[in-house]
C-alpha cells in the first residue's frame, strides 16, 4: 500500500513536472502586444503637380509585438485639400480624402545605434469638390483611385526612431489611375497618377496605453 501510494505520488509529481515543462515554452513565446499612440503630422508632395497635401494632424495607433518588433496600426488622415495649376496656368483645387483600406503594418529593427522603422500604409484616395478656375465641376461622390495606394514609409538611413519620442518617417509612392470622376476623369488621370510622390511624417509623443 505504501509502495503504491509512493509510486502514485512520484507519478503525479512527474506528470506535474511534465505539465510545467510543457507549459513553460508556451509562456516564453506568448505574444506581448503593447499598444502605443503617437501624434503624427506631415505632408505629401504630388510629383506631377508639385502640390502639397497636408497629412494630419492625426494619431498613429500601433500595436507593437514586443517579442518580434512587428506592429500593426492605424493612421487615419483627416480630409484635406490640394491646389495646383494644370498645364502651368489652370488653377485646380480639390478636397482629398485618404480612406484606410488595410491596417498599417511594419517592423522595428534594433541595429547599431538606432531603432529603424519600416511600415506600409494603404489607402484609397478620394477626390471631391473639384474646382477649375474656381468653378465647381461635377466629379461625383466616388471619384477615387482604381486600386489601393500603398505607401511605404520608414526612418531615413542612419536616423533612428525613439519608441517614446518618435521620429521622422519618409517614403515615396505611386498614385494609380482614378475612376468615377465624371468629366474630370480624363483630366485627373492626366495630371495626378504616377510615381515619385513623397511622404514625410513626423511621429512624436508616444504614449503607452
Amino acid at each position: 500500500m505504501t509502495m503504491t501510494t509512493s509510486r502514485l505520488r512520484r507519478g503525479l509529481v512527474a506528470i506535474g513536472a511534465g505539465a510545467v515543462l510543457a507549459l513553460a515554452p508556451m509562456a516564453a513565446h506568448a505574444e506581448t502586444i503593447i499598444p502605443i499612440q503617437y501624434d503624427a503630422q506631415g505632408t505629401s508632395t504630388i510629383a506631377k503637380t508639385g502640390s502639397s497635401v497636408a497629412l494630419g494632424p492625426t494619431t498613429l495607433t500601433t500595436n507593437l509585438d514586443a517579442e518580434t518588433g512587428d506592429f500593426t496600426g492605424s493612421l487615419p488622415l483627416p480630409k484635406t485639400s490640394t491646389e495646383f495649376k494644370a498645364i502651368g496656368f489652370l488653377p485646380v483645387k480639390a478636397d482629398v480624402s485618404f480612406v484606410e483600406t488595410a491596417p498599417v503594418a511594419g517592423h522595428i529593427d534594433l541595429a547599431g545605434d538606432i531603432a529603424s522603422v519600416n511600415a506600409t500604409a494603404q489607402y484609397t484616395i478620394k477626390l471631391s469638390n473639384i474646382k477649375v478656375f474656381g468653378f465647381p465641376t461635377f466629379a461625383g461622390p466616388n471619384c477615387q483611385t482604381k486600386t489601393t495606394v500603398s505607401i511605404p514609409v520608414g526612418t531615413e538611413p542612419g536616423v533612428g526612431f525613439d519608441l517614446v519620442g518618435g521620429g521622422r518617417l519618409v517614403g515615396s509612392y505611386t498614385i494609380p489611375q482614378f475612376q468615377n470622376c465624371g468629366i474630370n476623369t480624363g483630366l485627373i488621370n492626366l495630371l495626378v497618377p504616377g510615381a515619385g510622390n513623397t511622404v514625410d511624417i513626423q511621429v512624436s509623443n508616444g504614449v503607452f496605453l
Binding site: I34, L64, E67, G69, A111, A115, G160, F161, D162, F208
Partner: protein, 215 residues
C-alpha cells in the same frame, strides 16, 4: 638532439627574460596609495568620455548601447600579496541609450578590480592588465512598460595605467566575458547569452591621498 633542445630552451628563456621589464611582477601585488601599504583607501572614478557598450545578437547584428558618462566610488585595498586590488561599490550612469530610446543602468552588487598582468614594478608608469570582475548591471529602456531590459554579467578586461591613474576598460571581441541574461522582450532582437563589449576610460582619484601603485 638533446643539444638542440637545450639550445631551443635557452633561446626561449632568453626571449622571456628580454621581453619583460626588469623586476616586473605579476599577481599577487603590493598595492600602495601615496606610498602607504596598509589599510584601505576610498576612491572615486569618472569616465573621461562616453561609455561604449554593445552586444552581438544571435543573428550577428551589433546592437549599441552607450552612456554619455559614468562615475562611481570604491575602495582600494593596500598591502601586499593582493590580487584583488579594489572594489567598485556604486556607479551612476548618465545619458544611457539603447536603440529605441533612453535607458537606465543600475549596478547590482559590488564589483571588483583584479590584476592579472605581470608588468607591475616599483616604478610609477606601469600599465597593469586586469579585469573588472563580478560585474552585474541591469539595463532597461525607460518606456513604461519597458520594451527592453536585460542584465549584463561577467567581467570586462582592462588596464590600470599608473602614470595617468586611469583604468582603461577595453572588453572587445564579443568574447563572452560579458553576457546578457534575463533579456526581455527587446523586440526579440537580443537574446540570453549574447556576448557584449564595453569600452571606457575612468579617471581614478584617491582624493589627495596620492597615486595608486602596484608592484
Amino acid at each position: 638532439m638533446k643539444l638542440r633542445h637545450l639550445a631551443a630552451g635557452a633561446a626561449t628563456v632568453g626571449l622571456i627574460a628580454l621581453s619583460g621589464p626588469a623586476f616586473a611582477a605579476g599577481p599577487p601585488y603590493t598595492v600602495a596609495v601615496g606610498g602607504s601599504t596598509s589599510g584601505t583607501q576610498t576612491v572615486t572614478a569618472s569616465s573621461t568620455g562616453t561609455v561604449q557598450f554593445s552586444a552581438k545578437n544571435n543573428a550577428g547584428t551589433i546592437v549599441n548601447m552607450n552612456c554619455t558618462s559614468v562615475s562611481g566610488s570604491g575602495t582600494v585595498t593596500k598591502g601586499s600579496g593582493l590580487t584583488q586590488i579594489a572594489t567598485i561599490n556604486s556607479t551612476t550612469w548618465v545619458g544611457c541609450r539603447i536603440p529605441g530610446g533612453a535607458a537606465t543602468v543600475t549596478q547590482n552588487g559590488i564589483w571588483n578590480i583584479t590584476g592579472t598582468g605581470s608588468t607591475a614594478t616599483a616604478g610609477t608608469s606601469d600599465s597593469v592588465a586586469g579585469y573588472v570582475g563580478s560585474a552585474d548591471a541591469s539595463v532597461a529602456l525607460t518606456s513604461s512598460p519597458s520594451l527592453c531590459s536585460f542584465t549584463v554579467t561577467g567581467h570586462a578586461d582592462g588596464t590600470f595605467n599608473e602614470a595617468t591613474q586611469q583604468l582603461v576598460i577595453n572588453e572587445t571581441g564579443y568574447s563572452g566575458d560579458l553576457t546578457l541574461s534575463s533579456v526581455g522582450p527587446c523586440l526579440g532582437q537580443l537574446q540570453n547569452g549574447n556576448p557584449a563589449n564595453m569600452i571606457t576610460t575612468l579617471n581614478i582619484s584617491t582624493g589627495g591621498a596620492g597615486a595608486i601603485n602596484l608592484s
